[in-house]
Symmetry: C2
Subunit: 381 residues, 2 copies
């Protein structure tokens, strides 16, 4: 169940020696007949070479192949780094009988180190000399600190959507750059794929947050080839694509680095979705809220303080905070002893009601643990 | 050397039982002849009762006394909480022969719990029934998780400025709310104190950052009584006040919760001070940068990624990053093996050169340690 499942796609993962003994290079090849392509990239001003390259590909709205590697981000690598990306795309294009402009590239791993083009070429040789088709191996080859593959397959009416992802954050995640590739055999030649992908990404990947840091390499890519000859409406496809992206977002947050608890944060009764989102983002990335969650303390006061610091125009006197649906704060003040809420399940649900309107957003996040600090102080990215 | 040193001020700290056996209530009393007053408060929309009260006092530009307590923030306490602040000010005013509008109030401690007015009144009785004058005890009484008092005294030409502080963060700090009281016997009746205090606070307290969280209670207050009969120029006083605030800011960051290293972060060659500040703030609060520092890893890549995510319009190809003045990244790419820099001193100096102009800011920050996580998961605020 992955990117190789929709008809007319071939995906594979191999080991090319960037991470000795481990899978580290993947290919997703679109065999057509259509080559519609859309992508969303990191907002970081420091963009990795593969992001700069793939942004150019995305401008054409077409792509026939995506080459992905783990073990090196190819970020902060200067002109030499860009040349490695460019040459990799060129070499793969040659092997597949394509033009370099048909080939998008994604990288993830350590910042500031050059990738070895010779190893990548060897990997491309392996990826293109057999016809093995295994989306699972592709999904495996893009992992870094992830503990498991993230894959999904959703079936529509006569077509399907497959997806794979790696990382542990929002589109603004952690060192664990988020890479997402989605394939579908639906015919979307009449849909504005780029607008649709951005809208869905904003409501899924942008609503998960582990440490609030923004990677230099984040990329979400969607390829549609129309081989099913089914043309869903934009609305119908958006619904299924949201299902795909939500599933991957969930898998990402469940595997977030150092997380000891999974947090569902709902901000509701907001004036607007934008207001709700501002508050949710702030609460979900607040170190004091997150350390309290690590301590399993239903510390609604820290949640209220974080909500107030979002600059979202909340009314402190109409703020309610629920932990596991128990109201610990009503109208901005304590409502009984907070220790009556025991946070001993695997998931904690926090609800912040602004009581200013009817808009609502849901965010997924984690705690801030000693394990997170240790992992990120020992691992270099 | 503290708030009681300038002529015409009396300061004292007592134990009133909020924190049994510890000093927890302080008074700073201005005996005149002038009662000029200015204050800067938290930007959090969820403001504690004493902040709401003191904001009203600050509008008059006059105050004769400041009452401060630790052990309870009186935030998220509703109308009952506001009533405690109001009644405390009223009771102190009565004892000192003042009007309640002459009395500013500051609180720090746990959010969401009511303060006991009876205990506070007992404390006010003690503070007003003797003439003991000890700024050190006042500075002691406002501490929470602080490991030591923060005090400073600077002498001008015929006048002096005393200051005390508690907390561990920027004006947007941690659970360790930042409270600052500054007293001076200079005559500043012709100076716009409020504008001056805000300008100095922005360049000192707002350029230290521990965890980037914003408290509900932060307050910086300045009282000037003119008893020295010396009227310094605004520029002259600003220089000395900056010295006072820089010293307190340094003391705060050196005592930041869970910090294992002290970080001096310089962002220079920026287009504007605003651009430099945006970048510095982002780098200083980035979890990945801070965990790397905990691991004593000169991880310039994380610094570059954080700088790029500030939305400050930097040019990634002209970015230089220095650790302890050794250039590890030049023009946005690696410059030699970063492990040649050993981060084994008590202070780490990081310099980020944007090479887009000539503006510069200096920020003080700390690492993100397992100790920080443990302290903040165990301590309730």
């Amino acid at each position: 169940m992955s990117v190789s499942a929709p008809a007319g796609f071939r995906a594979m993962g191999v080991s090319c020696g960037i991470k000795p003994g481990k899978l580290d290079l993947a290919l997703v090849h679109n065999l057509g007949p259509n080559f519609d392509f859309a992508a969303v990239f990191t907002t970081n001003e420091v963009k990795a070479a593969p992001v700069l390259w793939s942004e150019q590909i995305a401008k054409t709205d077409k792509a026939r192949a995506i080459l992905l590697n783990s073990g090196g981000a190819n970020a902060c690598t200067g002109p030499a780094g860009f040349s490695v990306t460019h040459n990799s795309a060129e070499y793969l294009a040659e092997k597949l009988g394509l033009s370099p402009i048909d080939v998008a590239v994604c990288s993830t791993g350590i910042i500031g180190e050059q990738l070895d083009l010779i190893k990548i070429k060897t990997g491309i040789d392996a990826l293109t000399s057999s016809f093995d088709n295994d989306g699972g191996l592709a999904a495996q080859a893009i992992l870094t600190t992830d503990s498991k593959r993230k894959e999904v397959l959703v079936n529509g009416n006569g077509y399907s959507i497959g997806g794979m992802a790696k990382g542990a954050g929002m589109l603004a995640p952690s060192l664990a750059t988020m890479l997402v590739v989605i394939t579908t055999d639906a015919d979307l030649s009449k849909v504005n794929l780029s607008v649709l992908l951005r809208a869905v990404a904003n409501k899924t990947f942008n609503r998960i947050s582990s440490d609030g840091c923004t990677s230099t390499n984040d990329s979400i890519m969607l390829m549609a080839n129309g081989s099913s000859k089914v043309s869903p409406t934009s609305d119908e496809f958006e619904k299924l694509l949201t299902e795909v992206c939500s599933s991957l977002a969930n898998q990402l947050i469940l595997d977030a680095e150092g997380a000891t608890v999974f947090v569902e944060l709902i901000v509701d009764k907001a004036k607007s979705e934008n207001q709700a989102e501002l508050v949710a983002k702030k609460v979900a990335s607040d170190s004091l809220v997150k350390t309290a969650l690590f301590g399993r303390d239903p510390n609604w006061g820290r949640v209220a303080a974080a909500a107030g610091s979002a600059g979202a125009g909340i009314d402190p006197n109409s703020l309610d905070v629920y932990f596991n649906e128990i109201p610990l704060c009503l109208n901005g003040a304590a409502n009984g002893d907070r220790h009556r809420v025991k946070l001993n399940s695997e998931t904690i649900r926090i609800r912040v009601s602004l009581n200013q309107g009817s808009a609502e957003v849901k965010f997924l996040t984690t705690d801030l643990s000693t394990k997170y600090v240790l992992e990120n102080s020992e691992y270099s990215s």
